[in-house]
C-alpha cells in the first residue's frame, strides 16, 4: 500500500466572479466511515483530514451553490427507471447511510435554473424533488455539515453502474454545460465529484483494484491530459474498475482549461484507491 501526499488544498479564490470556482474529486467508499479494523487507521485519518480540508475550502470560496456530482447505488434509481443524469431540484438535500443522516440546504430556484440551462445546452436530465441520497453523497457532504457549509447544495446524479451508462465524454461535456450556465447566469458555483478510484465492489475482483491504472490516470490529470481519460470507452472504464470516474469528468469539464489536478492524497486501501484531488 502506498501513500502520496502533497501540500494541502489551494487557498480559496474569494472573488465573486461568475463561473465554476473550484472542482474537487474525492472517493466515497463506505469503509471511509465504517473504518474496518483491517484498514490502517492512520491512513483513514489522513483521508478524513483531506475531506475536512476540502470542506473548509468549499465554505471559504463563498459560492452561490455547491454542485455535488455522485451516483445512486441502485437505491432510488432501481431497474424500473434508470435515468442517465438526474438533477435534484428539491429542498432540503438529505443523505443517509447506515445510522448517519444529514440535511443541507437545497435551492430549488438555482437547481431549476441549472435544469433549464442544461436543457438549453443539449442535455435532458431527469429531475427529482424528493430523494434521499446515498453514501456517495453522504461521505463528502458529512464534512461540509461539520464545517458549517451555508451555501445551498445541488446534487447531480450520474448513472455509473447500470449499462448502458453515459459515455465519460458525455459527462465531460455535461460539466462544460454546467460552467456555461454558471457564466451566463452570473452565478458562482463550485463542484465536488465523488467516486473511484479503481474498485470492483460485488465482484471477485473486490480485493484487486487496478492500482497501476490509478497512478496512470492520476498522471494524466496532473499533467492536464484529460483527453486520455475522457476518450476511454465504457468497457475500458469497466475493466479497470473506474466506472465511477464519470463523476470526475463532470468536474474536469466544468473547470475547462484550469483542469490540471493537484493531488491532496491517494491511498491504495487494498480494495479501492482512495483519492482527494483538486482541479
Amino acid at each position: 500500500m502506498t501513500t502520496v501526499t502533497t501540500d494541502g488544498i489551494r487557498s480559496a479564490d474569494t472573488s465573486h466572479d461568475a463561473g465554476v470556482a473550484f472542482g474537487y474529486c474525492v472517493s466515497h467508499a463506505p469503509q471511509i466511515f465504517t473504518q474496518p479494523k483491517e484498514e490502517d487507521p492512520a491512513e483513514i485519518a489522513r483521508m478524513h483530514d483531506g475531506y475536512r480540508a476540502v470542506a473548509r475550502s468549499v465554505k471559504e470560496h463563498n459560492v452561490d451553490a455547491l454542485i455535488i456530482v455522485a451516483l445512486d447505488h441502485l437505491h432510488n434509481h432501481f431497474l424500473n427507471l434508470v435515468p442517465q443524469f438526474t438533477l435534484f431540484t428539491g429542498n432540503p438535500v438529505v443523505a443517509q447511510f447506515n445510522q448517519r443522516r444529514i440535511e443541507l440546504n437545497g435551492s430549488p430556484e438555482l437547481a431549476n435554473s441549472l435544469m433549464d440551462g442544461l436543457l438549453e445546452r443539449g442535455f435532458d436530465p431527469a429531475f427529482s424533488q424528493n430523494e434521499v441520497l446515498d453514501h456517495s453523497f453522504l461521505v463528502p457532504l458529512n464534512y461540509m455539515v461539520e464545517e458549517g457549509l451555508e451555501a445551498p447544495v445541488i446534487p447531480l446524479i450520474i448513472n455509473a453502474y447500470v449499462p448502458p451508462q453515459p459515455s465519460i465524454r458525455r459527462c465531460h461535456d455535461l460539466g462544460k454545460a454546467v460552467a456555461s450556465w454558471a457564466e451566463a447566469s452570473g452565478k458562482r458555483v463550485g463542484i465536488v465529484s465523488t467516486g473511484g478510484m479503481s474498485h470492483f465492489p460485488g465482484t471477485d475482483r473486490f480485493g484487486a483494484p487496478d492500482v497501476e491504472a490509478d497512478h496512470r490516470v492520476l498522471g494524466w490529470l496532473e499533467t492536464g491530459d484529460t483527453e486520455k481519460l475522457v476518450s476511454m470507452s465504457a468497457a475500458d472504464l469497466d475493466a479497470i474498475g473506474m466506472v465511477e470516474l464519470r463523476t470526475w469528468a463532470v468536474s474536469l469539464g466544468a473547470r475547462g482549461d484550469r483542469a490540471q489536478a493537484e493531488r491532496h492524497s491517494y491511498w491504495d486501501s487494498g480494495h479501492c484507491g482512495y483519492a482527494v484531488i483538486e482541479f
Partner: protein, 103 residues
C-alpha cells in the same frame, strides 16, 4: 466488448423480479428483518422469482448470485446487510422529519 464480459454487465430483463426482491429487502428494514427470521415466508410472496434464485438468496450464496449474473452492486449491498449489518437503505426514507441518528 459484449456486455457479458463486463464486470458490471447489463442486468437481464428476465431477472427483474430477482433484483426487485433484493431491492425490496435492501430498502425495507422490516422486510429484511422478516427475511432473517423466516426467509421462506418472505420468498413465498415473490411468485415471479424462480426456485434457483430463491435458494441462492435464502442460503446467502453471494458467489452463486454473481454466477447467475445479478448486478454486483445489488449483491454486495445484500452481503453487507447480512454480514456486516450495514444498512444501505435510502429510497424508502422520506425526505422530511430529518434527525441525525448518530447523536
Amino acid at each position: 466488448m459484449p456486455d457479458e464480459h463486463l464486470m458490471y454487465p447489463r442486468p437481464q430483463a428476465g431477472d427483474f423480479y430477482v433484483h426487485r426482491l433484493l431491492h425490496d429487502m435492501q430498502e425495507d428494514e422490516d422486510l429484511f428483518v422478516e427475511f432473517l427470521g423466516d426467509s421462506d415466508r418472505v420468498l413465498s410472496r415473490y411468485p415471479e422469482v424462480d426456485e434457483e434464485a430463491k435458494k441462492l438468496i435464502a442460503s446467502h450464496d453471494y458467489a452463486g448470485l454473481q454466477r447467475r449474473g445479478l448486478h454486483p452492486i445489488m449483491i454486495v449491498q445484500f452481503q453487507r446487510h447480512i454480514e456486516w449489518g450495514m444498512r444501505m437503505t435510502a429510497s424508502r426514507e422520506a425526505a422530511t422529519s430529518v434527525t441525525d441518528a448518530t447523536g
